[in-house]
Amino acid sequence: MLSRIADSMFWLARYMERAEDTARILDVNYHMLLEQSAVPYRLRWDPLVVMAGEQERFAQFYEEANAQTVYEFLAFRADNPNSIVQCITKARENARTIRDRISREMWEDINGLYYSVTRFDPAEQISSGPHRFCDAVKFGCHRFFGVTDATLPHDEGWDFLKIGWSLERAEMTARLVDLQFQSLLETPTVVGPADNHQWMAVLKSVGAYEAYRRQYHSPIEPERVAEMLILHSKHPRSIRFSITELQIGLRAISGTGPGFYANEAERLTGKILESLRYDTVEEIFRQGLHGYLTDLLANCRAIGEDIAHIYFYYGAGE
């Protein structure tokens, strides 16, 4: 497979996953925050921007983070390269450069999604709330991955899609957990039932609320939420699950067997995964959740850079 095509596959999947994750987080938090009008809301809307890693850019356009500005910024702004519409635009752009390598159904599906999200009128959507829009994006992305699964041969192209979305998902979940814990545990003004709602929102934004209920039958406890989102072996949006998928994809590409690694990306992935498999949530909290997740995110970034170096941008003679 051409390096350029592998590169586009990887980013196609990353952008789709980023669009979906942003839509989920926006949708859930927006509605949760509307119920929380008592808490000073400037404090509450900020984390959504921080999570997207876009505080500086946000500050260029808006004075205040509130329901309207955050929604517009995360969903529609053309000058925010990580807004949902921009992610889908770039995903489609990547698909367009490799449309001969993806299935016709995949192309028609992502092209249709692009036209449907760009057809939403931002002003109208901002006044009517993000649910309809976010739902369209969420299901649009699910459908795309479903169509892909059903129509694309599960060969190298598929493996590059897989490492793209799993790496992106691991990073998004890590950022979500990190931020929510910082803001919920370190903000003394928030007490009682409000807390409970916010933990529910965290679970819902990764679609894990019902699963949590089934598994723990207990009131929502922060440590259990963290356990579910970081260490759960079966929940498809937990960090451990995503890194496991990443490892499967990387090994399929290089042909490396279990217990070995062919490159730096595989070594780091294996290392993180061991820790995710054998650490308990109590140990993580003892050493500091924020520090743990910061290290993990740094490793994910290094993995991404290494993938680019090994497979996409090597020079002649390397």
Binding site: M1, S3, T97
Partner: protein
């Protein structure tokens, strides 16, 4: 059933249809369809306007979803536009197509022999069948190609030859040859696909010859060119990239043939071999179906600033380590001035009379033709010899005095660069007019696609019918408001 046509004419989509002073592909006379159009005419006449609109929308959505668009650069940023598709097919009966097919095959073989000769022995120049100065002054004549042995002696693997039907005689004439990197064949295949979904009933009543074997046939020919033999052929399609107006077609053909779509930056020449950069290292490339123009192929030989090309590619090509389709230097054969000599090529190389006529052409490089052209500018179409796509063109009857005078100066300054042709009253096919919501006659041309493997010429039945959708317009190019139609070649005559 005899009253059906008349009913259809009154009140249906054909209400007020005027065949005008032109050859109408559907009608013999007002309300009287030609035999091969009779069934379609009855069917359309019985279709309520709302239902027709409905089907039109379906077709448009299908094109949009598949991203069958071309890129227009008007406001500095490229925008994707749909290539308008008109639902009324252009139908050619078997006997008519048969003659076209024989005529085109003959022409393709002669063009290939001319290219072999002009870059080889140059017999035709020595015997003065065409002025040496005319050949050597072509922009696209590349001395670099003299003496190069191309695989199996094939230059013109893929040709798109533009035909028009003259209103005067009803005969098909050759307007121009495209033997460099002709585009548009993807529309032929996609138009058919969409048409079969939109009008399945029409296909049930006609025996339309299929077109979808084109990519298979093209791929077969490309594989035979491999320097390592057909079984080890790594074939790729070289595209200028996503911003090229024909990018859709490049990716479509690569996908249909199951070959890699590459850009210049994916290829590397090392020790005279061409490789592509893959995730598992470099892989040798044998055949390149290139959709990049000669001038941009190799910055070491042609334009040094080109980023689309591959440094060293021409060296690998000349040493026979990689095959290119079409060959480099073909532009000398489709130069609009050289085109006028193709009937002579056919006589010279094949000893046959040309089956298809050619549109009468005045070469401004000849003094007599020049003075005729300058004296009759308001009646003529003037074209720059190296241009295509409807650019650099004067349509005398449709131009004001000022434009004509500007062209007069250009011609006088560089006569070799211009040719003139009489205005051809292109034939018309009923097409749906969005404004009046009725059928109206619109001018069409026809570009069949010919594939040559060195032994025989394969032409997919029909080709691309381009239609000038603006009322009265004679310019069918997509960049100038043209659209396209599905083209049906029937197994028999009706």
């Amino acid at each position: 059933m005899t009253s059906a046509p008349l009913q259809a004419l009154h009140g249906g989509l054909f209400e007020g249809y005027d065949t005008g002073a032109f050859f109408d592909e559907m009608f013999l006379a007002p309300g009287v369809p030609r035999p091969h159009y009779a069934k379609l005419f009855r069917m359309l006449g019985a279709t309520p306007q709302a239902q027709f609109e409905d089907r039109r929308n379906l077709a448009d959505i299908a094109f949009l979803l598949q991203g069958i668009t071309f890129t227009v650069y008007s406001d500095g940023t490229g925008t994707e536009r749909l290539f308008p598709f008109d639902l009324i097919p252009r139908i050619l009966p078997h006997s008519e197509w048969d003659r076209i097919e024989r005529g085109l095959s003959q022409r393709v073989v002669a063009l290939n022999l001319f290219l072999q000769d002009v870059y080889g022995q140059q017999r035709i120049l020595k015997e003065r069948k065409i002025p040496r100065s005319l050949v050597y002054s072509c922009h696209h004549f590349h001395r670099e190609m003299i003496g190069v042995e191309v695989p199996h002696g094939i230059y013109t693997h893929i040709c798109g030859i533009d035909l028009v039907r003259s209103t005067k005689t009803g005969e098909f004439l050759v307007l121009e040859d495209n033997v460099r990197t002709p585009s548009g064949v993807s529309y032929v295949l996609e138009n058919r696909q969409v048409m079969m979904r939109t009008f399945p009933d029409a296909f049930q009543s006609y025996e339309v010859r299929p077109v979808h074997h084109y990519p298979t046939e093209l791929c077969r020919i490309l594989r035979t060119l491999s320097p390592r033999g057909e079984d080890n052929a790594q074939v790729v399609l070289l595209t200028p990239g996503i911003y090229n107006s024909a990018y859709f077609e490049h990716s479509f053909l690569a996908q249909q043939m199951g070959i890699e779509l590459v850009e210049g930056r994916d290829l590397i020449v090392d020790a005279g071999m061409v490789y592509m950069k893959t995730i598992h290292g470099l892989q040798r490339v044998d055949v390149i179906y290139r959709r990049v123009d000669d001038e941009y192929l190799d910055p070491l030989v042609f334009r040094p600033e080109s980023l689309m090309g591959v440094p060293g590619l021409m060296g690998a090509y000349r040493s026979g380590n990689v095959a290119l389709a079409n060959a480099v230097g073909n532009g000398v054969a489709d130069d609009k001035a050289v085109c006028a000599y193709v009937p002579d090529f056919i006589r010279f190389y094949l000893g046959e009379e040309p089956i298809l006529g050619t549109v009468e052409t005045y070469l401004c490089s000849r003094p007599d033709d020049l003075s005729y052209t300058l004296a009759h500018l308001p009646e003529l179409v003037v074209k720059a010899v190296g241009e295509s796509g409807g650019y650099g063109m004067l349509i005398g009857p449709a131009s004001d005095e000022e434009t004509i005078e500007i062209f007069r100066k250009k011609i006088e300054a560089d006569p070799r660069n211009y040719i003139a042709q009489p205005v051809i009253g292109l034939s018309r096919v009923p097409s749906y007019d969005v404004e009046s919501k009725r059928m109206a006659g619109r001018h069409v041309d026809l570009r069949p696609y010919c594939l040559y493997d060195g032994q025989s010429v394969t032409i997919i039945p029909g080709g691309l019918t381009r239609v000038a959708l603006k009322p009265g317009s004679l310019v069918v190019n997509s960049s100038q408001g043209g659209g396209s139609k599905d083209t049906w070649v029937l197994r028999d005559d009706s």
